[in-house]
């Protein structure tokens, strides 16, 4: 007798030395909507990737309806009846709805040489009728609203006779009304016996549509609960675990205000952000992916254009906003993705460092390599770059060292405001603490520092104050002993009201 539609048992996965999943058990009953809950980095995505065949597990087994299955690829996952609907919808915008539904396995005739568009259209119409009859299967999919595109993805899953459908953050682009329709659709699917896995941070949604929930933390499964028996507080508490003690954190906060941000807005990505940072202060910015933290930093750094609002450094507003203007005002950004936005990998360490400050090393139009070299040795020596080789192409350095060079870039440019976006991403444990030490040194030197991080322990450890962002807004400021994982999670996740 099959009690479970899906059983994942003992799933483990490591990337190098980092364990993403440790002996995770995950089971879903037939006709149930099962939530998968956890912070960023808890392992939800990895688990789903394994389930949908994108990644392979290091160990563990998966069974569908009692029979073990080998999921080696997205195709074998589909054949096992598992469908995944990603947060970023995966379709080809120019093709029609019907073509997208049959993407990868078109209906063919003449031994596979002729795509039977008519048959595809007919089958698509049939399925869409039950889901949303207003969708025309012949129109290019990009003409549809996002909520309709999502329904097409569900239809695609049903086409494969999927009995397990996983939805990753399904409502990130939906209005509350559209969510209502989705909830109704989910109810219909449930009734036909389909099992749904619902990954979301929105508690109100989970409480509305889900039956049970599996909570993950730090790569482990820490609990399976019946939604009916729980309330938000208890679930949040399990997500974040016990309170982390703040290790000795030295504060160098002075009274002098260095950075002031007022009403900074960019569309709906960042809404009316206002705060200030003093010399020597480390301001942490917490929140979920998509809350607008990176966007906030990019606005301050002049990389993105703002809709309105002002940024002032030492009392002077930054005018004619651009990257160059921000740099001249003393703002430096250490970006989230070093490879994409940070380093010029073929160029030497010293050149990567000197890029914003060329004028300091230029006389009569020519670069003084000796002056540049001296300064590079001084700055990078201070930042403890080891080995201290400033001629090597930066692409050959470790992640931690690359990060030091980027930091060095702004030290050499005499920046007053240092913006860090995920400062220790992709950096091993040893180098991590060195980066924290460097941030502390910068604070000691009177710089104003803003740190965006998804790692709770990191933010708690290095911040004097913490701003929590959600959906583009700063929802809360935490100081002193109020800086805890629970508080951060509470204000980062909890929906005050769905229609807001």
């Amino acid at each position: 007798m099959e009690q479970f539609r899906l059983t994942m048992r003992g799933i483990s996965k490591s990337y190098g030395n980092a364990a993403a999943l440790q002996e995770v058990d995950f089971s879903v009953r037939p006709g149930e909507v099962h939530a998968l809950i956890g912070e960023n980095g808890a392992g939800k995505s990895t688990l789903l990737n394994i389930l949908s065949g994108v990644r392979g597990a290091d160990s563990g087994e998966i069974s569908v309806d009692g029979s073990p299955v080998q999921i080696r690829s997205p195709l074998s996952a589909r054949q096992a009846g598992i469908a995944m609907i990603h947060q970023e919808l995966q379709h080809v915008p120019e093709l029609s709805v019907a073509q997208n539904m049959f993407l990868g396995r078109p209906l063919t005739r003449a031994g596979g040489w002729w795509v039977d568009k008519k048959a595809q259209l007919a089958r698509a119409t049939l399925i869409l009728k039950t889901l949303d009859p207003t969708i025309d299967p012949d129109t290019p999919i990009r003409n549809l609203k996002v909520s309709q595109q999502q329904i097409v993805e569900i239809a695609r899953a049903l086409l494969d006779n999927a009995r397990i459908i996983a939805m990753d953050e399904p409502t990130s682009s939906l209005t509350p009304r559209e969510f209502d329709r989705l909830a109704a659709l989910i109810g219909d699917l449930k009734a036909t016996g389909v099992s749904l896995i619902y990954v979301s941070h929105k508690m109100n949604e989970i409480f509305r549509v889900c039956d049970r929930a599996t909570i993950m933390r730090d790569g482990r499964q820490v609990g399976v609960v019946n939604i009916r028996d729980e309330d938000e507080e208890s679930i949040v508490a399990r997500m974040v675990g016990r309170k982390i003690d703040k290790p000795d954190h030295q504060a160098f906060v002075s009274d002098r205000e260095v950075l002031r941000v007022e009403d900074l807005t960019r569309g709906s990505e960042v809404v009316s952000a206002s705060f200030s940072v003093r010399a020597g202060e480390v301001l942490g910015v917490a929140g979920l992916v998509g809350a607008g933290r990176t966007e906030l930093l990019k606005l301050i750094a002049g990389i993105d254009r703002r809709t309105r609002g002002t940024v002032s450094v030492n009392g002077r507003a930054v005018r004619n906003y651009s990257v160059r203007a921000a740099i001249q005002a003393g703002i430096g950004l250490v970006p989230e993705d070093r490879k994409k936005e940070g380093i010029i990998k073929a160029r030497a360490v010293k050149m990567n460092m000197a890029l914003p400050s060329m004028h300091r090393f230029t006389a009569a139009g020519l670069i003084s390599q000796s002056r540049l070299g001296r300064e590079a040795l001084r700055v990078m020596g201070d930042l403890r770059l080891r080995p201290l080789d400033i001629e090597k192409p930066i692409g050959t350095l470790s992640g931690g060292n690359q990060q030091k060079v980027i930091i060095g870039r702004w030290v050499a440019a005499d920046a007053e405001v240092f913006l860090f976006d995920e400062p220790t991403r992709g950096i091993d444990i040893g180098a991590k603490s060195e980066i924290y030490h460097l941030i502390e040194k910068l604070a000691q030197a009177g710089k104003a520092i803003v740190v965006v991080s998804s790692e709770m322990t990191e933010i708690i450890r290095i911040s004097d104050r913490v701003l929590v962002m959600r959906e583009g807004r700063i929802t809360r400021e935490l100081t002193g002993s109020a800086i805890t994982e629970e508080n951060i999670a509470r204000y980062a996740i909890k929906d005050i009201d769905p229609g807001a």
């Binding site: 750094a301 990389i303 990257v323 160059r324 740099i327 950004l333 970006p335 994409k340 936005e341 940070g342 380093i343 010029i344 990998k345 073929a346 160029r347 050149m351 990567n352 000197a354 890029l355 914003p356 060329m358 004028h359 230029t362 139009g365 020519l366 670069i367 390599q369 000796s370 070299g373 040795l377 020596g381 201290l388 080789d389 400033i390 001629e391 870039r409 440019a413």
Partner: protein
Amino acid sequence: MTTQTSTRPGSRPALRLKFNLRDAGTLIGLFIIMVTFSFLSPVFFTVPNLLNILQQSSINALIALGMTMVIISGGIDLSVGPAAALSAVLGATLLASGVPVPLAILATLGVGALCGLFSGTLIAYAGLQPFIVTLGGLSLFRAIALIYTGGNPIFGIPLTFRSLINSDILGIPTPIVIVAVIALLLWTVMNKTPLGEYILAIGGNEEAARVAGVPVKRTKVTVYVLSGLLASLASLILIGRLGAAEPTIGSLWELDAIAAAAIGGASLMGGKGSIFGTLIGVIILGVLRNGLTLLNIQAFYQLLATGLIIIIAMLIDRATRGK
């Protein structure tokens, strides 16, 4: 060639000229080809012939040098030929109608710069793809040149100008000296000035360059203006030699330039290239053409040889660098 300073802290910086490994490889290739030809033809390795090679290559050299900088910045300029044609017909008109030579030269260079400004602005500020923009420029400039001249050549370029181009400076033909001076200038820019750093940065990783405060737009416009300037400079040499300007000149110049740059080590992905390497590439192409001509081999085979050389150079690149 690149310069390196010592990295040991505290020591006196010692300047060393270090040969770029890639350039060394290209030089060896040139050497092999030259040796081969000197065996096959007794006339090849003579001073008049070698000077001839350099002179014949001078036009491609200028175009290729400009192209190199554009390629390093991550772009491409397909409109150099027609830009040269447009500059040529305008310059010839001015010269033929008695405008003082220095003024006419400046005006001609101005036309080239304007062509570059056109492309560069669209690429940098409107964010359009360099390939497409300069492809459009190619047609546009050619059309303007043809319309302006009605398809006819412009004769009557005064002797004063012609003798300028056809003279020698210290025994070396002027065009070769011009190329040498320009090459030195551009080498200095690429290796010793912030602009050179910016070009390399943008070609290496444009987004990172932007975040690091590199003036991306300004730099991009600059490289295309330079490319246009060099195209018009090349056209001046051409009309000085021919005594006339045809609106159809410059056809396929961009291909020879890209070939030379590629042989010289420039990567079409951007971020990599060498002034010196491009010069060697130009000379290789020139030597090839010259050698095959001396051996009375038909022009068609010269085209074949050019194509093969390019592919061989790329294969060697792949094999030695693995990237």
